[in-house]
Symmetry: C3
Subunit: 431 residues, 3 copies
Amino acid sequence: MSSSLSQQFYTELKQTVLIDPHSHINPLAAASTSLADLLGYHYYTELSHSAGMPKATIEPYDGKPLEPKEKVHRLIENIAPLDNTIQWSWMLELCRDLFDWKEDRIDLSNWERLYDQSAKICAAPGWEDEVLKRSGVESIFLTNDFDDPLAGFDLKRYIPCLRTDDLVFHLARSSVQTRLAKCTGIAPSNLSSLNNAITKLFEHFTKHQARACAISLPPDFCPSEVSDADAETAFSRLLKSGEANPDLEAKATISRWVFWTLAKRCSDFKLPFDLMIGVNRQVYPTGVFQGQDLYDSRVSLIQYSKLFNAFPDVVFPVSVLASVTNQELVDYAWIFPNVVTNGHWWYSNTPSIIQHDLRARLEAIPRTKQIGYYSDAYKLEFILPKFNMYRRILARVLAEDFAVARGWSEQSCLALGKQLLRGNVETIFKI
Amino acid sequence: MSSSLSQQFYTELKQTVLIDPHSHINPLAAASTSLADLLGYHYYTELSHSAGMPKATIEPYDGKPLEPKEKVHRLIENIAPLDNTIQWSWMLELCRDLFDWKEDRIDLSNWERLYDQSAKICAAPGWEDEVLKRSGVESIFLTNDFDDPLAGFDLKRYIPCLRTDDLVFHLARSSVQTRLAKCTGIAPSNLSSLNNAITKLFEHFTKHQARACAISLPPDFCPSEVSDADAETAFSRLLKSGEANPDLEAKATISRWVFWTLAKRCSDFKLPFDLMIGVNRQVYPTGVFQGQDLYDSRVSLIQYSKLFNAFPDVVFPVSVLASVTNQELVDYAWIFPNVVTNGHWWYSNTPSIIQHDLRARLEAIPRTKQIGYYSDAYKLEFILPKFNMYRRILARVLAEDFAVARGWSEQSCLALGKQLLRGNVETIFKI
Amino acid sequence: MSSSLSQQFYTELKQTVLIDPHSHINPLAAASTSLADLLGYHYYTELSHSAGMPKATIEPYDGKPLEPKEKVHRLIENIAPLDNTIQWSWMLELCRDLFDWKEDRIDLSNWERLYDQSAKICAAPGWEDEVLKRSGVESIFLTNDFDDPLAGFDLKRYIPCLRTDDLVFHLARSSVQTRLAKCTGIAPSNLSSLNNAITKLFEHFTKHQARACAISLPPDFCPSEVSDADAETAFSRLLKSGEANPDLEAKATISRWVFWTLAKRCSDFKLPFDLMIGVNRQVYPTGVFQGQDLYDSRVSLIQYSKLFNAFPDVVFPVSVLASVTNQELVDYAWIFPNVVTNGHWWYSNTPSIIQHDLRARLEAIPRTKQIGYYSDAYKLEFILPKFNMYRRILARVLAEDFAVARGWSEQSCLALGKQLLRGNVETIFKI
């Protein structure tokens, strides 16, 4: 019974028009132009590399990018070892649903036909609109560099989000200082000018309908307040020590000060502050592009307790990288009014982990405090299969844990599902 | 097949009369007098606060407690966002089974009727007996302060348990010293008198049929033996430094010494020592009453290996706060004769986590070493729905993992279930 | 549907002839001679001790081993409390499938008959061949001490594996130094001779068809390169300090240097390096033989990132002791070409944990990089029930997650299953 019910719920949940609350879409080139844009996604290049494809096959030493069709050819040559992965199933579903692909497999015997077919479809006028329509997506959050002009696109469809990793962790780089000076007109030469520059960013972003500030954080980061006096000293030492050989203690102090200042501005400008907790960058530095990051799962949300206490009026949508942190996330969201759960991030975005984490969330956190899912997509075409994966799991959990186990009506189950898929995105991000 | 079988097992398991091995029942006011006693449970106030209800709504600034009916009214106004939680399902089941409530929901349209109906039922003579009868409960362990007189109640029905958090972690407080002096007649002015006072407590409790000593422990606690000489010095420094500004190193030393001394007395008096491992108090200090504690899941039972080795004749029923520690608990109970698993505590007391933890326990720990469940209840009425939740999961695991997967007979499955529900409580706590 | 399909898959997967990639079989006495060899397995003695059997009952104080039949008698007397464990289910299945045992239970009423029956079967000529035939096993990896002569057995059937714990962690012991000198002809008196002796071991093992180097590692081990100069100093200090009171800092340095040198030799000799990560030895030092080890689950594969980066041409089949580390293992194998997953080790070798860990692996790691299972057996008879347990879970996951959830054909599901069971053992260990 629960199996047919879950199928029915899945069909119903697909009717909900989505607002995707986190992506890496480039709004000036949101849809793909060919299969190369899709197969070039790090999920495929890194898995293919992990299965034995040399990095040079896909990222030639001479630095010249491969011709798109050749890139696809090379990846398809190495794709068989990945065909069990859920990531590959996204590709198959995407091709079926968006590129009218009828075959069960994509391999050396048929990829060229798929390539040509998809290129034709992608080149048709209005493809971007068509993908969104077929995917049931209304608008999508972006991940914008702090110096993004936020111009040239529809701010209703593509919702800006101020990404702040560079400000918190890379302020020692002169390139970051220069970019900050250029986009704000304020050279960050001391703490006060740095503070003013940050405020300018929030003004720019909120003027352009930004709905969130966001950051990804390493496992050992532990935010706390830094006095302006300490920060002033640290900033001056950081600027003096320079990029090549930065004063590491000063750098850490400034990271904490900037992070805390961002939280203050989120409070002032009434922006939720998305925390994506737990990633170590460049653990595998010779891996393929974007396939180098991993983590240490020994992280605790207790590291964020001072933050959650200090900013009761800032909403923190929190993503954790490893499933072993999910119970802490559930329990911090269970107690703290300003902590909400946000999607299933990256290494935790596979079915068995989503199901585990989702069940724990649905049974213990108020329903208003759970943002079900985001695509994290780099190209529009991935939103469909990723959300479908999530909707299948959500449908199953609603069927098993609510309809069957608790006797909930179908209507009540679907109302809960739709709230996770869309309703909470609207209320939490004030859309 | 496993689904109807699990339903059948559930019905059978409800026939076992329970001894609830851990609760916070006040034996002088064990049952509720109105819905306010039940909705005032921290599970509802903290979730409601987390979902947006200001603390002042339920804990007025003037310090005057709310009139019970008004308290319920305010909570019901804010209850809709919690209706997905398993905690709320306990309330619905409790009202159906104990207060003859026939409706699917409790909301602003009907709560007053429920309030009046339940108040009438609670006020009937013999309600306490009736709750126990309907809940199939014979006796219940208490959580008694060390200076509890243990008088005025039936020691067969309400079994004392010496709770020792204050002694281990708060001995720097003069109020604790005063209470200890008052109830034992021994002022703890040096190590020897402290030792004697502790022994007095064990005499008092065991004379009153206490069946366990218990304590909750923070994640960073790591018990080890402290020499009397070191403890003497530390105690004298602690007393000298005073409550407001205690000598923290001396405090930590005394914590370890008192804890180790408690284990010695458990050995002498043949009491099991319940360890509830992993809670950080007041992580959210401005939260509602009892809704302020969380944890750091980075804890290991290896911190307790010296203890388990040093006291082979003391049984340690261990509860862990986070499911990520459950496998360690399973494996320490698999090897150490004196480690037994004890229920599903607090943040791990939700269905998906219980199922995960229970399956791992049942497949790898001797069946004699598993205490299935305790209610942790503050009022008698909660024992029924909480144990029902557990029994449903236990029935399902027995059906799937034993009847279907291993071909066990129904009788064998039920015998195992009953041993977890009751038999082991009797043998482990010698009842 | 998925339940009958999973039964069908199980039957099909049993047709695959196995190469067991990790065991503790003694090739000179591979099969059992009586039930005492099987019930004496630490899984039963430790669980029985944990359930209350005094250590002296099974390991008499006088040091004289028990007569085999008496040993079995004593264990059967204490076996009832373990009958729920999966470990005990292995024994029942083994007796049914190998000793023609028809009864549901083994207890005091019938054990003697089983004992005699099994002794007769074990004594029949060709029993070793018969066990392997009935178990569908072709060859088995051993765990050889570094000074094992590797003589007297069929190197096709029993594949040597160089176990290196003693070299990395116990080189301070004069017995280890003496053994090394004796088997290589090189007394390890300085770094250069130590290096040469290690190389000799690799020559000896690879000449005898060894297919892997292996080691088990404590949770706090963090490999890194040590300069020869630092290692030379440390080794000289270690030799000088002696076994009874070794220079601990020097010992730690030498551990890291030897470990790194082993990785270099694995590269030179093209051997995979099996890492079994996470065990603490002798946590319960007064436990029964081999029933004393536990762990601290707070370990991260980030501790191995330098190693994985430094040896891109060495394949590291990694086992983790606790399921909370499985997601890290999945994700490191997802990114690093030289990290592959290896079986379900020890405390994670129980059904609910295998299922959890397997699902996460199958959905996110290239199919070529997963070694499904190894028996870890001490006697041949255990290979059958342990692999059956794994095959049942594998069959179920293939049915639910691939056939039903993703619409894979039966043939595709089985091909994936067989690759995990055998194909990857052949390709990864070059058999």
